[in-house]
Amino acid sequence: MRTAISELNLHRAASVTDALELLRDEQRTPIAGATDLYVALNFGTLTPRKFVDLWPLHELRQISMKQNTLVIGALATYTDVIRSPLVARHLPMLVEAARLVGGPQIQNRGTIGGNVANASPAGDSLPVFAAADATVVLLSASEERRVAFREFYTGYRATVMRPEELLVSIEVPPIDGTQWFRKVGTRAAQAISKVVVAAIRGDVPRVAFGSVGPTVVRAWEAERMLASGASIDDAADALTKDIAPIDDIRSTADYRQRVATNLLRRFWSETARV
């Protein structure tokens, strides 16, 4: 542990209102499951020194239905998602994604809101919400903002969130069609994604990829091809315009390109109506 703890300041939020008023008045970094906190501090990628702890805010942990919209509280953990009958029924690809995050210890603490707000391009829940056209619900002391998921990310590890805002829930409209999810990690558990894809085969296909660009991406060109009745080969070619994978410490651009294309084909063939 290389970070000087004594230089850090933590305020435990007593309520959502308490947290929001604090954020209105001070620059603080929210923490919840904290699965990335000490890693980021020690690595030097996180320099903020003042934090607000959202973990006690049980009201943000709920998973519920609002009419036929699935509402996932920001503090729902991966374990909460895995155990939720509502998610199993309405968004099973999120259950699949949650099962493949880390291992049990990480699943017990890591939160959906943290995954979305952390904005890593490799975040495993992000393609699910992108494909599902989810809505991100942000709250500040003054207002609630609802942001379409496709507009939430502005660049590498950057979102439209304002410093005084909290992400309080993700809302997922009903999905008509077969859900499909695949994560290619560095190993079978405790793995960071090298390529991750969530897709829906409905009236029109929706396909979202992670780890192939600075943010999660919808494969708009490929989707358009498929929706217009073009062949999967044409869609696979179009995919190369949608994604921009890089070489990094875990994998290569070539590999990611190739695998993303293969997985698009695999999605298409596995979800074809017999």
């Binding site: 004594s6 890693v39 079978a188 405790q190 997985l263």
Partner: protein, 699 residues
């Protein structure tokens, strides 16, 4: 009921499972300081200036000028300093040591070092700095190649592998008696003692005590001399105990790794599949200092021709310098690298001949009476064919080899061997000793061999109990403290059972004679206690020439045949091992459950080497030095490991036992590569990551 051969209760007690067992970082001493190592941030150059840009209050600062004796880590050569004097030869080379009571202040201390940089060398194929050269010659390989019906060539590569003992390196140095006691996570307390005596002077009052050790695998063979020296320097300068524990990042970046290898083969065969010539070139990347490269190269070269008979063999080995942190001991010690190469080469030769891979191996495998590459005539304890036949039978290899073709399943095998004990005259030079003490409470084993999870305490007690003919429960094992126990040599090279256990067996037999008909308790009551200390007696038939590298390289060999069954995802090139069958002959097991543990664990480590573990080097240092990015197998990555332990007793070992610790490491990587070949990918390198496989040529 004898103790040997049975799963007796382990001498470790239950402390590992209750949290009571004390590892280095669990120790606390009054007035203890924490230590920190300031390391170079360039791979090659000279230190120009050092500025201590912090408030020095409460700090102890040590540099090379504080060394009372010689600033040299005394090992095979004397080229590596404890602390940089001016020349920097690798990234993360230790330059300065700090200690302070407060960890935060310690970690916040800013040291600014300026360097004159030089151009570093990272590519071993470009290096002209030879750390060691070995040439093994048998027959006339050039003539035999020229006369062969078919010659197959190939080049094979393995990368660094990091040990990832779950407990990082750590020691606590405590001033005592005008000198220092070092408590720590070490495999070889006497190696550390020797290094500290050089650092502090031969008359310094030093002892090294092994704490419960959370894994070693060779990574705590020679490296702890460095960390022990550092902690001791800080302790002596400050006059206070100093705890120096590496976090995972520092451990992975700065400490030793398995030597990367490039091995070239040219194999000549007759049309009917007999090997008539083997020409092998072994290149190991040693890193910046010699450390153990000469012996890693030695073992790698001796095993480089595989478990095959061949009248004309030439093995040319070189270990070379690069500006990277020195590489060192890692389970297998050169053999996993060279046996990977030869086993993939053998599959390729069989393919080129149009011959079944099992038949090719069976035809050429070493048998009793055959000679090895160094001209050693093998005796009855030779089991290459036995392990091969059992593995093939048990896995239904031939049928699966046929039926898996064209599917996403694949099956491949490797045949391998591993010499037990130190090479050639090594054991003679070590001159190891073991001692038994008759005490008021019973009989105590006093050896320098360390328990690092492999079962040393238990296995030694079993041997002594049965040789002494007393109940196993009455045998104690002393904690390895260099001021108390005999120097039994290092806990490495698969020698702890076969070599040290043998000396203990002899001690026990001698003690039994002295006890006469009396039990130890009765004898003690009547006559008081006594000790029996004996030294290693090499088998009288061993002949070895260090200069020509010919003769009996090892007293005996373990033998193994691994079969890897895989499923390959054609979309992602992910490889899922579904089963690994490990058939291994190592004399006979002293404790079957502990022995099985060595095979299962070594096999899993070999699977990591084969598929998952890749060290990414940038500017001469490990760039992926976190467990997030250096991925060892989790439960979900590890298949069922089907272990078959065959027996073929070695008369020179205690109760017929050979060495076991390293043998399991040699098989998995080539078995996996050969399975991938069966699938249709021309794999000549490990780790066979999906990225590599996606670019592999098809077969």
């Amino acid at each position: 009921m004898p103790a040997v051969g049975n799963n007796v209760a382990r001498k470790d007690g239950i402390g590992k499972a209750t949290g009571r067992a004390l590892y280095a970082d669990d120790l606390v001493f009054p007035g203890m300081l924490h230590g920190r190592t300031i390391r170079s941030t360039i791979p090659r150059g000279r230190v120009k200036s050092i500025k201590l840009d912090f408030d020095l209050t409460g700090f102890t600062v040590v540099d090379h000028r504080d060394v009372p004796g010689r600033n040299i880590v005394d090992l095979i050569e004397q080229d590596q300093p404890f602390l940089v004097e001016r020349d920097v030869r690798h990234m993360a080379e230790p330059i300065l040591l700090l200690a302070h009571e407060n960890l935060e202040l310690l970690n916040a201390a800013r040291v600014v070092i300026e360097y004159d940089e030089e151009v570093p060398l990272f590519d071993p194929e470009q290096s002209v700095g030879i750390l060691k050269a070995i040439d093994i010659v048998k027959g006339d390989v050039d003539a035999a190649l020229a006369a062969a019906d078919l010659v197959v060539e190939g080049t094979y590569r393995t990368g660094h592998q990091e040990h990832v003992y779950i407990e990082p390196n750590g020691v606590v140095a405590v001033p005592e008696n005008g000198g220092v006691a070092v408590f720590g996570s070490v495999q070889c307390p006497f190696y550390a003692l020797k290094a500290l005596k050089c650092l502090f002077g031969p008359n310094a009052a030093i002892r090294v005590v092994q704490t419960e050790t959370g894994g070693g695998f060779g990574g705590k063979e020679e490296y702890p001399s460095m960390i022990a020296g550092h902690a001791a320097l800080l302790a002596l300068k400050s006059g206070r105990p100093v705890k120096l524990i590496y976090d995972r990042v520092e451990d992975m970046v700065a400490t030793t790794k398995r030597h990367p290898s490039i091995v070239r083969h040219r194999t000549g065969v007759t049309r009917d599949g007999r090997i008539v010539a083997m020409d092998v070139d072994v290149l190991l990347d040693g890193g910046a200092y010699v450390t153990l490269s000469p012996v890693v190269l030695s073992r790698g070269c001796i095993h480089a021709a595989g478990p095959y008979r061949c009248e004309n063999t030439r093995i040319r080995g070189r270990a070379v310098v690069t500006n990277t942190p020195p590489n060192g001991a890692f389970r297998g010690f050169g053999a996993p690298q060279t046996e990977f190469a030869v086993e993939v080469q053998m599959d390729r030769v069989a393919d080129a001949l149009g011959m079944d891979t099992v038949q090719f191996r069976r035809l050429n495998a070493l048998r009793s009476g055959d000679t090895t590459a160094t001209g050693q005539t093998l005796r009855e304890d030779t089991s290459a064919v036995m392990v091969l036949d059992e593995a093939v039978r048990r896995t239904d290899f031939a049928n699966k080899r046929a039926s898996y073709r064209g599917s996403n399943k694949a099956i491949g095998l490797s045949l391998f061997f591993h010499g037990a004990g130190f090479t050639g005259s090594g054991e003679r030079h070590l001159n190891s000793r073991a001692r038994l003490d008759l005490t008021e409470t019973g009989v105590r084993i006093a050896v320098g061999s360390t328990e690092i999870g492999q079962g040393t305490r238990t296995m030694h007690a079993q041997i002594v109990a049965d040789a002494l003919r007393v109940p196993y429960e009455n045998i104690d094992v002393a904690q390895p403290d260099t001021s108390v126990v005999a120097d039994s040599g290092p806990t490495v090279a698969s020698r702890t059972c076969m070599v040290v256990g043998k000396i203990l067996e002899e001690c026990a037999i001698e003690m039994r004679t002295r006890l006469g008909d009396l039990s130890p308790e009765a004898y003690f009551a009547q006559h008081g206690g006594f000790s029996v200390e004996r030294k290693y007696e090499p088998p009288d038939w061993i002949e070895w020439d260090d200069h020509t590298y010919r003769g009996d390289a090892y007293a005996t060999y373990g033998w193994g045949c691994d079969v890897a069954e895989l499923e390959i995802d054609p979309d992602t090139f992910e490889v899922r091992p579904t089963r690994l069958t490990a058939v291994q002959e190592f004399g006979r097991p002293i404790h079957p459950a502990l022995a099985r543990g060595q095979i299962e664990g070594g096999t899993a480590q070999g699977l990591g080497f084969a598929l998952l573990e890749r060290v990414v080097m940038r500017n001469g240092a490990m760039a992926n030095a976190q467990l997030t990015n250096y991925t060892i197998p989790t439960t979900l990555d590890t298949p069922e490991i089907d272990v078959v332990m065959l027996e073929n007793p070695y008369p020179g070992g205690p109760f017929g036992a050979k060495g076991l610790g390293e043998l399991p490491m040699d098989g998995p990587a080539p078995a996996v590569a050969n399975a991938l070949r069966h699938y249709g990918l021309d794999v000549r390198e490990v780790p066979a990551t999906p990225e590599l496989l996606s670019t592999c040529a098809s077969l």
